[in-house]
């Protein structure tokens, strides 16, 4: 029996060099990020999911860590795919690491 050859995946020139805008975006901009502005807004880029949300706390899954934003009247001003804007009187931001992550 002849050994079944593994079919090689073919990449186009554009795919190989990530010229396609969406792909490039996916490669470069999909890592979760947290921006805190002095105006009281916290921009969370590419959050995984909302784990918990009430008026005093919002917990966002960021992949390796879970970010807990605590304060008064915590409001999600906008929420769409890839961006969550949090406003309110923020007292602290906690990073909770999962088991096994350093």
């Amino acid at each position: 029996m002849s050994k079944k050859q593994k079919r090689k995946t073919k990449f186009s020139f554009k795919e190989a060099f990530c010229i396609n805008a969406n792909k490039l975006k996916a490669e470069l901009h999909l890592c979760p990020m947290l921006h805190v502005s002095t105006t009281g807004e916290i921009f969370v880029e590419n959050p995984g999911a909302i784990v918990l949300y009430n008026e005093n706390e919002v917990r966002l899954d960021m992949g390796n860590v879970v970010v807990a934003i605590k304060g008064d009247n915590i409001t999600l001003q906008t929420m769409e795919k890839g961006l969550v804007t949090v406003i309110g009187r923020v007292f602290n931001i906690e990073f909770m690491y999962c088991k096994g992550n350093k």
Binding site: A49, I50, V51, L52, Y53, N54, E55, N73, I74, T75, L76, Q77, T78, M79, E80, K81, V84
Partner: protein, 388 residues
């Protein structure tokens, strides 16, 4: 500002979410690319708002995650227009109104007369109606130029006339015609007497006078000659012109019946209206019913609502029923009618007449009167005749 306008145009729904898996609902909405705004946590759930275009998907997801959705507020143009969703007449009306506004640029809304007397205004109005230019008619520069030329030709009293179309209004400007200079005629003419009489005043500007003041003349006598033979025997020809006033005596007679019948309008009249605008006719009747004995009159006037002129003209056809009526006159009434008729004839036949005395005589018969008047008057009696 622009963002607010965009939100108003796209529409927005605010709702309350209670129970169920609230966080999962939020995550699913984000995964489905829905845009959630103003998410506030409450004791029992969340309040949030979504654009109108995402609301259907959001409500499906809420059902999926067993959340109770209560709508708080709906804003936006789509919700304003929602009650008129299937009322196509309103939209058709808006479109028709827009078309009307566009068309109204070429429509006459008003006609103004600049420095015209009321008589001239009525003459021009009537002529314009006859030529199809009135409130509501579509006009062009070519048509206005043509009509203004026609008006000048038809009415000799105007030296120059123009129809200016300014912002839906026709302004008619004109100048009065200057009187034509009296060109001396080269034809050879004589002046002869049109009536018997005694000459009282002579005012001759051309020709060779054959009579003098105080002279009696008979009808047909030569007053001013256009021909004369000079000492050399040559015949001189000229145009006799002038006025010769004489004292004349004339008899007039008129017979007036004491009873006669005439078709007179009675109180029963009916008006039929027709609106004309944009070169179209909109009759507000099916058919004009004219009784056997009736007269019809046409009135035209611009359409106005509470004093505001609209670009349309109302044609009112008034049908007035008439009836043969027997009219019985008294002797005095018949005499007055006869006198008026006789004096109309006198003033029409004798130019520049000045009645010095009049002797009246009325003969009364069974059904008529005969009115006789003998007048002594001073009048212009010359009559121009061509020399053969």
């Amino acid at each position: 500002m622009l963002h607010k306008l965009f939100v108003y145009l796209s529409g927005e729904v605010s709702f309350q979410l209670e129970g169920g898996l609230g966080e999962r609902f939020l995550n699913s909405c984000a995964d489905e690319m829905l845009m959630l705004k103003n998410i506030n946590a409450t004791l029992t759930g969340y309040t949030l708002s979504v654009p109108y275009r995402h609301f259907a998907k959001a409500s499906k997801l809420a059902k999926k995650y067993k959340c109770k959705m209560t709508i708080i507020n709906k804003t936006g143009l789509c919700y304003v227009l929602m009650p008129y969703k299937h009322r196509y007449g309103i939209f058709a009306g808006i479109v028709a109104f827009a078309l009307l506004l566009v068309l109204s640029q070429f429509v006459v809304w008003d006609i103004r007369f600049f420095e015209c007397t009321p008589m001239q205004e009525s003459i021009l109005r009537h002529s314009l109606y006859e030529k199809g230019i009135s409130e509501g008619s579509l006009v062009s520069k070519k048509l206005l130029a043509k009509v203004s030329d026609e008006l000048v030709i038809e009415n000799s009293q105007f030296g120059w006339l123009t129809l200016n179309y300014i912002k839906g209004r026709i302004v008619i400007e004109k100048t009065n015609a200057t009187p034509k200079p009296n060109v001396f005629s080269k034809t050879t003419t004589n002046l002869i007497a049109a009536y018997d009489g005694i000459i009282r005043k002579i005012d001759v500007s051309g020709g060779f006078l054959q009579v003098c003041e105080g002279q009696s003349v008979a009808k047909g006598d030569l007053l001013v000659s256009g021909l004369r033979q000079d000492v050399m025997g040559n015949i001189q020809k000229t145009h006799a012109e002038g006025k010769i006033y004489a004292e004349i005596e004339q008899n007039y007679e008129y017979t007036q019946s004491l009873s006669y019948s005439k078709a007179l309008p009675i109180n029963k009249s009916k008006s039929y209206y027709e609106i004309r605008a944009f070169n179209m006719r909109l009759p507000l009747f099916t058919k004009i019913q004219t009784p056997m004995e009736s007269e019809q009159r046409l009135f035209r006037y611009p359409l106005s609502v509470f004093g505001f002129r609209l670009p349309a003209t109302v044609y009112e056809y008034e049908v007035r029923q008439t009836q043969q009526t027997q009219i019985n006159l008294t002797q005095q009434q018949a005499t007055q009618i006869a006198r008026r008729k006789v004096y109309d004839v006198i003033y029409e036949g004798l130019p520049e007449v000045q009645i010095l005395s009049a002797e009246e005589k009325v003969d009364v018969f069974e059904n008529k009167i005969v009115y006789n008047v003998k007048i002594n008057a001073k009048a212009e009696i010359s009559k121009q005749v061509a020399v053969p």
